[in-house]
């Protein structure tokens, strides 16, 4: 058996690939569920119900999807430029840090000014965090995978240090958490009496905007060329280094914004468990979406649904909620294979 490149990929195949991948992942994880002794169909039924079975479940899923859209976009724009940003987790915390510093009462501004300021600052913090590894990559040829990964740990330690020191909430009963952001820095709710907030609209808007930039502007044109063949792009006269750094700022900025939005829209203050791995899940989101900015939205909602649904399921039966993480990882690996099959066909001989 060998692989032969396809001349072109039908759109249906591209749309079907993630569906097939998810189905395969669900089938594989059914073995694990069965191992726990729980009835598989009922478990998956509970998962679906927990993710989308009620208005509350749906808003919970969308709330969870909001940061995932942003980290998914962060991974998608970076991966398209072959900038392997695995540090969205750290960039997210840097954004959140900026949010609680500036939004915690330091700036006395009206809401219409404070919110954008905090968002831009958070995005800048996240972007700056990725700029470091990107500069090391273009300047010294240091592999960005390892540096961005290591930075995740450094940032978390920095946050921990600040939460036990300078940023510690005096009213926090001794817990390592920051003081809450002021009311003017809070994102309005989208649906009353739920946790769903307007951060979702920001994420959706950015996904559409990135798609437009990608297809309609010379920025997007340069990004695609540099991502697909940096040598040819440089030969044609495109500013490859600048495109790389620009992509780093954008990718890190999106992840930083995810941190801001989690703080200002949902939590209100910063703790060390602000993100249950949104940065890493963002990679899965981006891959399921085949790095397409609009596809990211669908993929993020799906992944969020898995997490929210698995929590509900694990409350009802003896299946540890880590099944969600296994499902997500399996989806990523299956998606890789499915994506390959849209680009190649299997041939005998």
């Amino acid at each position: 058996m060998r692989l032969e490149p396809r001349e072109h990929t039908p759109l249906a195949a591209r749309l079907l690939a993630p569906v097939a991948a998810v189905a395969a992942a669900l089938a594989l994880c059914a073995l694990l569920v069965a191992w726990t002794g729980a009835p598989v169909l009922r478990a998956y039924g509970l998962l679906l119900e927990g993710a989308a079975g009620s208005r509350f479940a749906l808003t919970e899923t969308l709330t969870r999807a909001t940061p995932l859209i942003l980290t998914g976009l962060a991974a998608a724009v970076a991966f398209r430029a072959k900038l392997w940003n695995i540090g969205a987790e750290g960039q997210l915390y840097m954004g959140a840090l900026a949010a609680v510093v500036l939004g915690g009462g330091m700036l006395d501004l009206p809401a219409w000014l404070l919110l954008p300021t905090v968002m831009i600052a958070g995005a800048a913090a996240g972007g700056a965090t990725l700029l470091g590894p990107a500069v090391l990559k273009v300047r010294f040829g240091v592999d960005e995978v390892v540096t961005t990964l290591l930075l995740n740990f450094i940032v978390l330690l920095l946050v921990s240090m600040l939460l036990e020191g300078a940023l510690k909430d005096p009213m926090g009963m001794g817990w390592p958490q920051s003081a809450p952001v002021v009311e003017a820095a809070e994102l309005p709710k989208l649906v009353e009496r739920t946790r769903l907030h307007t951060g979702l609209l920001v994420a959706l808007g950015l996904s559409a905007l990135l798609w437009l930039i990608d297809t309609r502007t010379i920025w997007g044109y340069e990004n695609r060329a540099v991502g697909a063949n940096p040598r040819a792009a440089a030969f044609a006269g495109m500013p490859v280094t600048r495109v790389m750094l620009r992509t780093a700022l954008l990718s890190g900025g999106l992840a930083g914004l995810a941190g801001v939005i989690e703080v200002c829209g949902l939590k209100g203050y910063l703790t060390l468990d602000l993100s249950p791995g949104f940065g890493y899940s963002g990679i899965v989101v981006a891959m399921l979406a085949q790095l397409h900015p609009v596809g990211v939205v669908g993929a993020a909602v799906f992944i969020a649904g898995i997490f929210v649904g698995a929590d509900a399921m694990s409350r009802a039966m003896p299946v540890p909620n880590y099944i969600a993480d296994v499902l997500v990882a399996a989806s990523l690996l299956c998606m890789l294979v499915a994506g390959l099959l849209t680009r190649y066909r299997l041939r005998r001989g």
Partner: protein, 307 residues
């Protein structure tokens, strides 16, 4: 000056070097494993997850009544299986080594947590096992058998790579797979073999944590050690001897910061000390990146007969 004296005192104590070798062991094993994969041309970012799985599986086997060495073997087998997964995706299928590796790490980690929680649903304090004991030797030689195993493995890997036909084959597929194919070698078989063996070594690094350094399995216990191993491979220029040197140097810094933390803990936040290993790894990468001579075919998938 006082700090200098403190550091000197630390450096000459036998207890310090005992700690260094203990801290170095998982880095030695993990770096050797990653080195083997990369020498064959495959980046294995699954290392963090494979180490976690090795830690969990080895411990779980012993907790379920197996003896310690059986636990080590179970860990190696689980690691090898994860390696087989990574190799299947990246070698015959030629998928992105970056993304596949991240996927393997996510899978290894989540699978470990899932199984651990499934077997021990409500353990508030993690249950323990009786771990490997240090050998009854003087000074820094008082290490557990797994540390000695790691040191011996450095020699074994170096010997295999440079003195045996199969080692030459591994180096060849990492440098120029087409040349290896033209000499009648199966690039796929050699690469898959190297990744499986390398991944088994990574899992041993994880098992050392639960069966030798500690006696229980904790969540997040690998804590970035795998990523540091990847940096150490670059630092070591893909050579086993230098990998040992790098791991020991790194461990020495780590042990030093632990001691200094005890001495200067009141003055500086402990997080600053904990950051040191990560910062050090980045610094090491920057220093060697310019003159690093990568295996030429690293991260480049090879598809036979593709034009």
């Amino acid at each position: 000056m006082e700090l200098f004296q403190t550091i000197l005192d630390i450096l000459v104590s036998a207890a310090f070097w005992t700690a260094v070798l203990r801290i170095a062991t998982p880095y030695i094993l993990g770096t050797l494993g990653e080195l083997l994969c990369e020498r064959a041309g495959v980046l294995n970012l699954g290392i963090e997850g494979i180490m976690t799985l090795g830690a969990m599986a080895g411990w779980m086997a012993v907790y379920q009544g197996a003896d310690l060495w059986t636990g080590v073997l179970v860990a190696a087998l689980c690691g090898g299986l994860m390696g087989l997964l990574h190799a299947t995706l990246t070698v015959p299928l030629g998928l992105s080594q970056h993304v596949a590796g991240i996927g393997v790490t996510l899978l290894g980690t989540s699978l470990s947590y899932f199984v651990y929680r499934l077997v021990l649903p409500q353990a508030s304090t993690p249950p323990t096992v009786e771990p490997f004991q240090p050998l009854d030797l003087p000074g820094a030689l008082a290490q557990t058998p797994m540390t000695y195993m790691a040191l011996i493995l450095v020699g074994v890997v170096a010997y295999v790579l440079y003195r045996t036909p199969v080692g030459l084959a591994v180096r060849m597929v990492g440098e120029n797979p087409a040349a290896a194919e033209a000499q009648g070698l199966s690039v796929t078989a050699v690469r898959v073999g190297a990744v499986v063996a390398g991944s088994a070594l990574m899992a041993l690094a994880g098992a050392f944590l639960t069966l030798s350094a500690f006696n229980a399995f904790f969540f997040n216990m690998v804590n970035g050690r795998g990523w540091i191993c990847i940096a150490l491979v670059v630092f070591a220029s893909w050579r086993p001897g230098k990998a040992l040197l790098g791991a020991v140097l790194f461990a020495a810094f780590d042990a030093l910061q632990l001691r200094l933390q005890q001495v200067a803990g009141g003055v500086l936040p402990y997080q600053l000390f904990l950051m040191m290993p990560y910062l050090l790894s980045i610094l090491a990468l920057v220093l060697v990146a310019r003159r690093a001579s990568y295996p030429r075919a690293l991260m480049i998938p090879y598809r036979k007969g593709e034009r």
